[in-house]
């Protein structure tokens, strides 16, 4: 529709040194291990709920008109969906795209967000690895910007070596401050 009428940007000659970038191009998928990591995390989260259900069945259910096993059954079904189905969908919804001068991070099933951070605005870079991530050889790359919104943009589920390569590449783009 109206994108053709957009006024051209006031760009300095430096802009031409960058390759043309397509922000709508195909996303790179995260490492397949990330689904397993998400599942493990979901499993750990649902354990307390299931224990709660067991306690309910064992201690309280006799005093209520609820048929035995119903609560636990529903909880088990929900947990299974939470552990098997949801991580797969979350994994499918996530992705990133690394271009010459920017990183695009897409995430979210219901609340989808599609963020682009130009390397020139990155303040500092974190590479984190939690215990589950370490087990699966993954890492989380975090870009920090000076903006109040999106002050830190997280990209989880990268193979750790790839994440550290990406960090080096982004770091190389950040020009040294000339003082």
């Amino acid at each position: 529709m109206d994108e053709h009428t957009l006024p051209a940007a006031d760009t300095s000659p430096a802009a031409s040194e960058f390759n043309p970038v397509d922000d709508e191009a195909e996303l790179t998928k995260l490492h397949p291990n990330y689904v397993h990591a998400l599942r493990l995390q979901a499993m750990l989260t649902s354990i307390p709920v299931l224990i709660g259900g067991l306690i309910f069945e064992g201690a309280i259910v006799e005093e209520t008109p609820i048929p035995g096993g119903l609560v636990l059954g529903v909880l088990v079904l929900l947990s299974l969906a939470f552990i098997i189905r949801l991580p797969a969908r979350r994994f499918a919804a996530r992705g990133y795209q690394m271009s010459a001068d920017r990183l695009r991070v897409v995430r979210g099933i219901l609340w989808n967000s599609d963020t682009v951070v130009p390397f020139g605005r990155v303040q500092h870079i974190d590479l984190d690895q939690g215990p589950i991530e370490r087990f699966f050889g993954l890492g989380t790359l975090t870009l920090h910007t000076a903006g109040s919104h999106n002050a830190s943009v997280h990209l989880p589920g990268l193979e750790h070596s790839l994440a550290s390569d990406m960090r080096e590449e982004i770091r190389a783009h950040i020009k040294r401050e000339s003082m």
Partner: protein, 539 residues
């Protein structure tokens, strides 16, 4: 060794805090620069402050037993202890705080029990703000604040110095910075500007007494009533009578309660009108006083270094904001003042202005007065040829539904309940709720027309508001990230919200068509990616 402690952080720009603190034994200034203390009179001011602090505890203790003799004495005793301790500590603090203006930085050493040395490099000091509250002003003292753009309470400040010393420090900081700037510019092969001692200033905006009073009229506020009510509720035990006994009040005011009834309904109506009028008078008076205290002799100047704003009647403030720190601007207004053509201009930046996130630069001005300030800050008002785009029509429909659905559900719930328990209320309650639903849907429909955004070669602009339009403008270059976000409804209906990463503020455009959002993002990113963050200050 003191040189080795100088912060050597690369401090890539605004988000990092350019202040380094170290807690350790004090090294005495090695380079021979003079260690100074703040003015001895600060101790007296600290003492006055602790007297102020003592008043409420003294009152509480003295009157808690309704004025029995020993309670009064106990209260005074506690007050004396508070004042003595306060005065003693304020003396200790004064005695232990020294500041040194050194070659590269300002060093402040303080702390009674644990010592802290804080060093702020001149390079990181944007400018020096001076603040004069009423009491220090009587003594000719100022609080000096070194603006580093760190935001929050992290900025270094010295309270209190003489006015001359404050002005001298400001001058020193400027000179040190200027010599560095000009050196850097020479290195860049540019001509260094002449270093001038007196800063030539050009007045951008000023408010005379008449303007301030007009502003005050529009700042009608009943906050004082709420504060008074809260205060009396909190401290009613101090009063010798029961505040909440209305019969007693009536008797006290009119003598006999049947006298009021005897005067008839017209007198009661007159009483109501008088009460309403006095409330309005109180609101206007509050507005006038509060506004005058804050905005008196408002003066905004353009100095070579940025904007300088002075204002205040009892508490005088003198704030400087470098131009490159301005990330975006906001032009807002309110329902009534908009009818008279008054608007307010604020700057968005990482620095804070007396606790508020944005800097007031022209709180009450005509658009024709605002425009030159906007231009001076490196922005421009949207031109006639600006291409305004509206939010998506699907967004309009959805927000009408979402805004009214609350009342519709409430109508259904209340309707069901009432038809069972109180059928006589069914019709009025359900009608009112449905009416509210219709009104909020209509409001969403109407306000959609006023939500617009435009993109030109350097700026992005957004406007909203039905009865009091407000607009926000940001430089494309000074944005830090762009996000397209879509909720569950938006994904199915083909619209999205654009969020921009703006230092010190929020900038988002809700409900625009996805293709438009992508096009805007593409255009903005092109501008952002062309310039590195470290070059932003020089733009």
């Amino acid at each position: 060794m003191s040189e080795a402690e100088l912060p050597n952080t690369p401090a890539r720009g605004a988000a990092s805090v350019p202040v380094v603190r170290h807690s350790e034994d004090m090294p005495v200034a090695a380079d021979g620069s003079e260690q100074k203390r703040t003015e001895p009179l600060s101790v007296a001011l600290g003492l006055l402050g602790s007297i102020q602090n003592a008043i409420i505890p003294v009152l509480l203790v003295a009157f808690s037993n309704r004025g029995e003799g020993y309670a009064l004495i106990a209260g005074l005793g506690i007050g004396a202890v508070i004042v003595i301790f306060g005065g003693f500590f304020s003396y200790l603090r004064w005695r232990k705080l020294t500041y040194t203006v050194r070659e590269q930085d300002i060093r402040v050493e303080s702390g009674v029990i644990s010592r802290t040395a804080r060093s702020v490099p001149f390079e990181r000091i944007q400018d020096v703000s001076l603040e004069q509250k009423l009491l220090p002003r009587l003594f000719g003292l100022v609080a000096v604040k070194f603006e580093t753009g760190a935001g929050g309470g992290e900025d270094l400040s010295l309270a209190y110095l003489t006015e001359d010393e404050g002005e001298r420090l400001r001058q020193v900081v400027r000179e040190r910075r200027e010599s560095r700037d000009s050196a850097a510019q020479v290195a860049d092969g540019e001509e260094a500007p002449p270093v001038t001692k007196e800063e030539p200033a050009q007045t951008l905006f000023a408010m005379d007494q008449r303007r301030v009073l007009t502003f005050g009229l529009f700042n009608f506020s009943l906050a004082v009533v709420a504060v008074l009510a809260g205060f009396t509720q909190q401290f009613d035990f101090l009063l010798p009578f029961d505040l909440w006994d209305f019969d007693a009040w009536e008797e006290r005011l009119v003598g006999q309660s049947d006298m009021l009834a005897a005067l008839g309904p017209s007198a009661q109506i007159a009483g109501g009108v008088i009460a309403a009028l006095s409330l309005i008078a109180l609101g206007i008076a509050t507005g006038l006083i509060r506004t005058s205290l804050r905005e008196w002799s408002f003066l905004l100047e353009r100095t070579p270094r940025g904007f300088r704003r002075r204002r205040g009647l009892l508490t005088k403030t003198d704030v400087v904001m470098p131009i490159h720190r301005v990330q975006g601007i906001k032009i807002g207004t309110r329902f009534i003042r908009y009818r008279f053509g008054w608007h307010g201009l604020k700057f968005i930046s990482l620095a804070q202005d007396a606790g508020a996130a944005n800097h007031d630069v022209a709180p009450f001005a005509k658009l024709s007065e605002i425009e030159p300030i906007v231009v001076e800050a490196g922005f421009h008002m949207p031109g006639e040829d600006a291409e305004w785009h509206r939010a998506s029509e699907n967004y309009r429909t959805d927000s009408m539904i979402v805004d009214s659905v609350f009342f519709i559900i409430a109508a259904m719930v209340a309707g069901t309940a009432l038809s069972i328990f109180a059928p006589e209320w069914f019709v009025p309650v359900v009608l009112i709720l449905i009416g509210l639903a219709v009104v909020s849907a209509a409001a969403a429909l109407y306000s959609w027309q006023f939500k617009r955004h435009a993109l030109d070669s350097t700026q992005i602009m957004a406007r909203s508001g039905v009865f009091s339009p407000s607009s926000q403008i940001a430089t494309r270059l000074k944005l830090h990230s762009v996000e397209i976000s879509r909720g569950p409804i938006a994904q199915r209906r083909g619209y999205a919200s654009l969020h921009f990463g703006l230092a010190g503020g929020e900038f988002s455009i809700p409900g625009i068509p996805v293709e438009r959002a992508r096009a805007v993002r593409k255009a903005v990113l092109e501008t952002i990616a062309a310039t590195d963050f470290s070059q932003l200050e020089n733009v």
